[in-house]
Symmetry: C2
Subunit: 135 residues, 2 copies
């Protein structure tokens, strides 16, 4: 039985080693897992990005969020250029181990457009409406 | 200039037709986009799943969330078997058009394990800890 099936039936408090978990994650064809960043106190969903195993290990070890940039094909330490760091408070994996939810303290905007969140394009009533202006 | 670059610079209130948006979404190699479901009032992130164009159009039209099940390779009308429907309040696309945030009213649990959220596996201190028991 896979680790994920075992954990489905496990009660609160059951534990596994990080090594076992990292080996069981069903990384996609590019070796990545989707990661959602959520501001820990307001609950605002800030962005969706991707991590490879190295990025996830660094994030958990350092407490600063590191993604994998699919466009640059490189580790992407969030905020390393503009200072808009994401400090990790807690990370959760989902039931089948193929998505991460990161609760973070976001310094400044999360979005490269300068908006707080990347999710500013509202879909409603058969059209898209930009919900917030860039600064 | 791509639609997404135009919208990056657009002020609040700028609009585009849904047809134009659906044609511009950078669907992945399987024709899918990632969709995050968030309980609209509590802010709890419930799950991450996938949609193809048909699923997204149906969701926006009907107001009930329909995903694409990658394992069953079929449309997955959330709750159609167990009644745990997700009613859509509002959907947002992110800055590069490759992720959706769905604010929903979730009836009952979102997770197939019976837990409210799929994100019950906490990663902390070099281990995974199950954060909530199945019902």
């Amino acid at each position: 039985m896979s680790l994920w099936l075992q954990l489905e039936q496990a009660g609160a408090g059951r534990q596994r080693s990080l090594d076992e978990v990292l080996a069981a994650i069903p990384w996609n064809a590019d070796g990545l897992i989707a990661a959602i960043a959520q501001q820990h106190d307001s609950g605002e969903v800030l962005m969706l990005a991707w991590m490879n195993r190295t990025a996830l290990e660094e994030t958990l070890r350092s407490g600063r969020v590191c993604y994998w940039s699919r466009s640059r094909r490189a580790l992407w330490r969030k905020g390393e250029s503009g200072g808009h760091v994401q400090r990790l408070l807690v990370a959760h994996l989902d039931c089948d181990g193929d998505a991460l939810l990161l609760q973070v303290e976001q310094q400044g905007p999360a979005c490269h457009t300068g908006r707080r969140s990347c999710f500013y394009n509202r879909l409603e009533d058969d059209r898209l409406t930009v919900a917030s202006s860039p600064p």
